[in-house]
Symmetry: C2
Subunit: 413 residues, 2 copies
Amino acid sequence: MLSLAELQHRIASGDLAADAAVAQSLEAINAHDKTIGAFVCRTENARATHAGPLRGIAVGIKDIMDTADFPTEMGSAIYRGWRPRGDASVVMMLKQAGATIIGKTTTTAFASLDPTATVNPRNPGHTPGGSSSGSAAAVAAGMIPLALGTQTGGSVIRPASFCGVAAIKPSYRLLPTVGIKCYSWTLDTAGLFAAGVKDLAHGLSAMTNRPDLLPGAPMRAPRIGVVTQDFAGAPEAAGVEALRIATVAAERAGASVRALAMPEIVAEAWRIQPVVQEFEAHQALAWEYRVHYAAMPPILRARLDESRETTPAAYDDAIKIASQGRDALAAIFEGVDVLLTLSAPGAAPKGLASTGDARFNRLWTLMGVPCVNIPAHVAEGGLPVGVQVVARFGDDAGALAAARFVEDALARR
Amino acid sequence: MLSLAELQHRIASGDLAADAAVAQSLEAINAHDKTIGAFVCRTENARATHAGPLRGIAVGIKDIMDTADFPTEMGSAIYRGWRPRGDASVVMMLKQAGATIIGKTTTTAFASLDPTATVNPRNPGHTPGGSSSGSAAAVAAGMIPLALGTQTGGSVIRPASFCGVAAIKPSYRLLPTVGIKCYSWTLDTAGLFAAGVKDLAHGLSAMTNRPDLLPGAPMRAPRIGVVTQDFAGAPEAAGVEALRIATVAAERAGASVRALAMPEIVAEAWRIQPVVQEFEAHQALAWEYRVHYAAMPPILRARLDESRETTPAAYDDAIKIASQGRDALAAIFEGVDVLLTLSAPGAAPKGLASTGDARFNRLWTLMGVPCVNIPAHVAEGGLPVGVQVVARFGDDAGALAAARFVEDALARR
């Protein structure tokens, strides 16, 4: 994979021309994307910009994010050839930091569950996960050092786990969703994919102009609460193994580790997450669902069909439970620095019919807390399985620092 | 003015054909809009729909809201001729309730402060206020029974006050902002303009499918806290008079009324509101500001120029203060049902150079609480001055009920 931080270092030191760094990504895309299918469209004559911390960094943008320079098709025939007038805020943040937008990456239709044709670079017989399928696959295949995705249920952390890359779903609203196709305004969160945790930190810091996100002095060993999310059902053996490996590695590296049960109200928040998600989707996608019903992707359409009768009162109750869950979770962070939990039930499912299950992700998206995926295990078939580090709301720096601690611990074992 | 509730009643009883109700609005627009200038564009052959509580109701949509059937120009040359692919969620809510979208109403560029050419229907030598200039003016001039606007600082309540119409800025996120041009995601709130409070209630209830918003049995006299917002500076004589008249009328009608001071943290929230607003605007309007700097409207551009150096840390602090302010305000509502306060410093300023001042509005937008404007006084020059009823977050039904109580009290005096 292409390390963003390493590219930055080589460009800054004069070892690598910024244009050559971008050209390297273009060549890699030309070499590999015919078999991977991570890009919807891309520029053929990309150049580096002249300044900024992300100069020479080629970035892929999930195709539900508005771009003035590329079509934005939302993974759906309803938006075929659609060209927004302007760039989404996150795209402008990248440009202002000097990055080069190299193309648009595949997304399941409207960032829901209908799969794309993208394959998993670690094993092309398996899904890369979704909904940010192309962004995860493009980074995993070494085509680009940075890609943007979004998560409503588990659309950043799950594909990162399946493809064996690092990814962060930051705190809710650390990154603006302006110009990003909305599914659920309470949940939708933009996130980053990169080779390693340090690369994520450099990318997110440059986009947001927040130097406190950069890796600092070696972190003191964190207090880690290990969460199995029993309310979400049983994980597969590969998921259990990934969490076990990461837990042991962190403990050996000096972290204080203990199992942590979630209070009932947090489990209840997990249960009502779909009520929030689908009630809002009915409003966010009202035009598509009502005016283009026949052209709606079938899995999403069935979901919306099933949730048509959700009442405003049920939604209000769900929002209340979510708020109580956030308060209860905040109290838990009085006793630990971060949580360590599953990124997905197990390795990427076989075939491309399903992008996998978000049941170990959706609670954290609803809680709005930052989550970082770290590859922890390689299961049968060369399929990666990740774990996620979860920090308190607003503590993205802490999430990144602890994730780097776990990443280091895993590398040294 | 055209009363939505009365039109509904006449249509339901067979006294008025739904198509005739729509035709009446088209005729009124043709008769009056040449002098008022409330519409950017409109349909010439509008028909009523076949069903729904808003059948026969012609609605004007602020031109920062996406419409598939009309251009959406954001009040700016940067979006001249721009045609979105789909409808904003609020537009779909109206259509699903059976309303007829009759046209797009004028907006200051990007819902900021650069004025439109719309005049105040009560006195054409004065501004109608902004940013929802056309929506307030179109209802005030009797052209349509319902119009949508948005408020980031005071863009719904202020023009309603200046034009002498009822308006509600509901609780934050009661109405989705999906498909509405964003200025500040923490603040932007869609709202409604109509002839009276009952009309607002019928419109909002139909859009949201929330029957609890409908006027019920006569409300018991509310406990009212009168707030002068001293932190916002002194009002003009006409503003003072409007608040005095409304206070006396409510008390005579049986309300328990007492003066209420706001705690220091709420005043502090008022002070930091511009930090939140402009920091987010820099991200929301990054493409326009960076790529089309020369074409940006001058007042907005100057605002953005002045706030370029706001740091993420200053923004984070402001968000924290806002959150503390919301908690303090929630505690205040333990002792009163609603607050009664100024809708604007005074009557509409002379001329069209300024849309007036949002200093008596911006706190409540930041607090996310529902606000209802009621005309209370007519100042020199026939210029209306309103007051606003403010309820606790989520209590839109209570805000409407208390506003109706005050409206009745004012009518009976």
